[in-house]
């Protein structure tokens, strides 16, 4: 008996009228995988860095995220504290091991900070994004001990810090940067592209925020865009 795998591949080849050994087909595939050609990139995001950050902000807000821009990294703890205070949320945050966050002067705020993955009991989490995509107001988050994936989904309120210089116009630019960091053909366990807070329209097409993931998404953009 042949394996299901061999059967399926044989079936595909029979249907396509090929053997799988044809050199031109093989080189088509190899070249495409190697070169990963960019397709059509919308003009919308192809703008100068300042306009790009403005577009990112506008798009993220359209997706019901709130956005604040701060000038320096050192301003982040104060902004996190303000956000939670203004919304009457508990003054506690959960963070991962990301040195950009762990090294901040949280002690200058009244926030209680704990570290590690979430097990579901944390009201608020702060993560650092790998980058942003201006064309849709999307954040790109990488899994790992620095920013555990559970922090993106379990807490009620998710605060994400992103450097203005990491905001790209389009997804493709993010992939290029990612390949430079982790190597072509490999990926972190999880990449989360996040556009606004969780929502559902499954009951009578009424759009409601806070389905299973965070009810609020607050984005803090750090620094000038160059």
């Amino acid at each position: 008996m042949t394996s299901a795998r061999d059967d399926i591949l044989a079936n595909i080849r029979r249907s396509l009228g090929v053997t799988g050994a044809e050199a031109p087909r093989r080189s088509n595939v190899a070249t495409r995988l190697e070169n990963a050609p960019r397709g059509l990139i919308p003009a919308r995001g192809q703008i100068d860095p300042t306009a790009r950050v403005a577009l990112f902000r506008e798009q993220a807000e359209r997706a019901q995220a709130s956005v604040m821009e701060v000038a320096r990294r050192a301003d982040v703890p104060g902004e996190v504290a303000r956000f939670l205070r203004d919304r009457n949320l508990p003054a506690t945050i959960r963070i991962g091991a990301d040195s950009r966050l762990a090294g901040m002067q949280w002690g200058e705020t009244a926030l209680e900070v704990s570290a590690g993955r979430s097990n579901g009991g944390d009201p608020n989490a702060v993560s650092h994004a790998f980058g942003g995509v201006a064309e849709s107001g999307t954040l790109a988050m990488l899994s790992g001990p620095d920013n555990p994936t559970t922090l993106n989904f379990l807490p009620d309120n998710h605060i994400v810090v992103v450097a203005a210089s990491d905001i790209a116009g389009d997804y493709e630019t993010v992939w290029t940067r990612l390949r430079e960091q982790v190597g072509k053909g490999t990926m972190p366990r999880t990449v989360n592209l996040i556009t606004g807070p969780s929502r559902s329209a499954d009951i009578e097409q009424t759009l409601l925020l806070g389905a299973h993931g965070p009810r609020t998404l607050h984005i803090i953009i750090v620094g000038e865009s160059v």
């Binding site: 080849r13 579901g120 899994s143 997804y171 490999t186 990926m187 009951i203 993931g213």
Partner: protein, 475 residues
């Protein structure tokens, strides 16, 4: 829940649906919203039409090289520590899932939304093995409580009203206070969020679908708005991805093209809230994520569709736009189609997957208005393919006699253009005369199936062909 197909009874199903007041009320909610939102999103992106071409071409290219991309994909998944399970049939796929669950001694399984799971009848298979499947997408959760199948591929509970959901929650969530208020959608959502949160944290295995598989990196992608798929796949020790062969795309760049048309076509969002790319299990330094990562890859007749007249259907990215824009779907809802995939895409796909003998009526569930094709992000010629099925069905003598003689009559006239024009001119003139007063027919002899539920517009007098000739002459 079962995948027992009621497609053979499409006519009876449709008849019941048209008489179902609750269903008709629910369908009213969707008749305009989806259409307006998609139109707006498309209009806001000048490149949208060109991106549809790009999306179509990527899918075409991948299907033409599917064997090679599958091999490349499998290699990458294995390199990243995951496993690919090729399955010819739903039975093999169920067996693969059960084997993984049993190896872990799993008792509860949380599930993200997956149409392949519906195709497999996986929940039945799990329940029979004493494993409790919990659907976590809000819509899927609701229909699971009701023992139904989805009536829409992206909005599974679109056929229900909030009063029905309230009744189901009161029936099932008996641990909650009886006097709680559940009249507003937001109260229903909050209750489901609370109930399901416990399930997420307790589950042994998480099962999700996949919108795309990437050959370059061995990655699976889910696209959701709720975040349920992410909790499903992140918290348990095992993540199983259910996917079918045609989900493959070559690279991250290719998937980016497809993502730009997917959400816009589906819900009118630029991007869905969560697009999640998963590659292999937990890494050595990870503090969360599954320890095992499996992809159950189902064929179920798809490899046989390649190279034939239904190959184009394999481009489908399950956005739901074709049903959102379909007057037949709007009238009868998704359940009338009798199997997993409703609407125009279901009318084409279902006969390929379960056989034209069982689903032969579905390709007739069309007015051939062409709206489905005009909105399909990967430009699948849905009406043409429904016509293919009709022709095949006709050739196989599966159509009822009355239908066949009607078609033969039409064919006879159509083959003699002069006679056709003459006959239609007489017919149209007669109809115009009868329908003159209101411009619509409330009933027509021999067409009660049509006029019971909608008025037949009365023709304006001359036939299209006659007007065309006249106006061409006038120019």
């Amino acid at each position: 829940m079962s995948v027992h197909a009621t497609s053979p009874q499409f006519k009876e199903n449709a008849h019941e649906a048209l008489h179902d007041a609750a269903l008709q009320k629910a369908l009213n909610n969707m008749r305009t919203g989806f259409i307006e939102r998609r139109a707006l999103a498309a209009a806001e992106l000048p490149e949208f039409e060109a991106l549809r071409d790009s999306a179509r071409d990527i899918k075409k290219h991948t299907l033409q090289h599917l064997d090679l991309y599958l091999e490349a994909y499998e290699k990458k998944v294995t390199e990243s520590g995951g496993h690919v399970h090729f399955c010819r049939t739903p039975a093999e796929a169920n067996a693969a899932v059960l084997a993984i669950c049993k190896a872990r001694g799993a008792r509860t399984v949380t599930k993200g939304k997956s149409m392949i799971s519906e195709e497999m009848g996986l929940n039945d298979a799990l329940s029979r093995a004493a494993i409790n499947p919990v659907e976590t997408d809000l819509g899927e959760y609701i229909i699971q409580l009701r023992g139904e199948i989805p009536s829409h591929i992206i909005a599974p509970a679109v056929h229900l009203n909030k009063e029905q959901v309230e009744a189901d929650f009161r029936r099932v969530h008996t641990h909650l206070p009886k006097d709680r208020v559940l009249t507003e959608p937001t109260q229903l959502l909050t209750e489901a969020r609370g109930v399901l949160r416990e399930r997420f944290l307790a589950a042994d295995v998480g099962i999700t679908g996949a919108n795309f598989l990437i050959a370059e990196t061995g990655t699976s992608i889910i696209v959701t708005n709720e975040g349920n798929g992410d909790l499903t796949q992140t918290l348990p020790k095992v993540h199983i991805v259910l996917a079918s062969l045609e989900k493959l795309v070559p690279t991250l760049e290719d998937v980016s093209q497809l993502l730009r048309v997917l959400a816009r076509s589906a819900t009118g969002q630029d991007m869905s809230v969560y697009t999640t790319l998963s590659t292999g299990p937990r890494r050595p330094d990870d503090v969360d994520g599954p320890e095992e990562y499996h992809v159950v890859l189902l064929d179920n007749g798809r490899s046989a569709m390649l190279g034939g007249e239904f190959e184009d259907m394999l481009r489908c990215i399950r956005c739901g736009a074709c049903m959102n824009h379909c007057p037949v779907y709007h009238a009868v809802g998704g359940h009338a189609y009798g199997w997993v995939y409703p609407g125009p895409m279901g009318a084409v796909l279902t006969p390929s997957l379960i056989g034209v003998d069982k689903a032969g009526h579905l390709p007739n569930a069309s007015t051939f208005c062409g709206r489905c094709e005009s909105v399909c992000p990967v430009r699948i010629p849905l009406p043409k393919m429904m016509r293919h099925w009709r022709e095949r069905e006709f050739a196989r003598h599966l159509t009822p006699a009355a239908f066949r003689s009607g078609l033969r009559l039409w064919a006879f006239f159509a083959k003699c253009p002069a006679l056709y024009r003459f006959a239609t001119r007489i017919g149209m003139a007669a109809l115009a005369l009868f329908g003159k007063r209101s411009g619509r027919f409330k009933s027509l002899p021999l067409a009660g199936g049509w006029t019971d539920f909608r008025d037949m517009p009365a023709p304006q007098g001359p036939t299209f062909q006659a007007r065309w000739t006249k106006e061409k002459r006038a120019r």
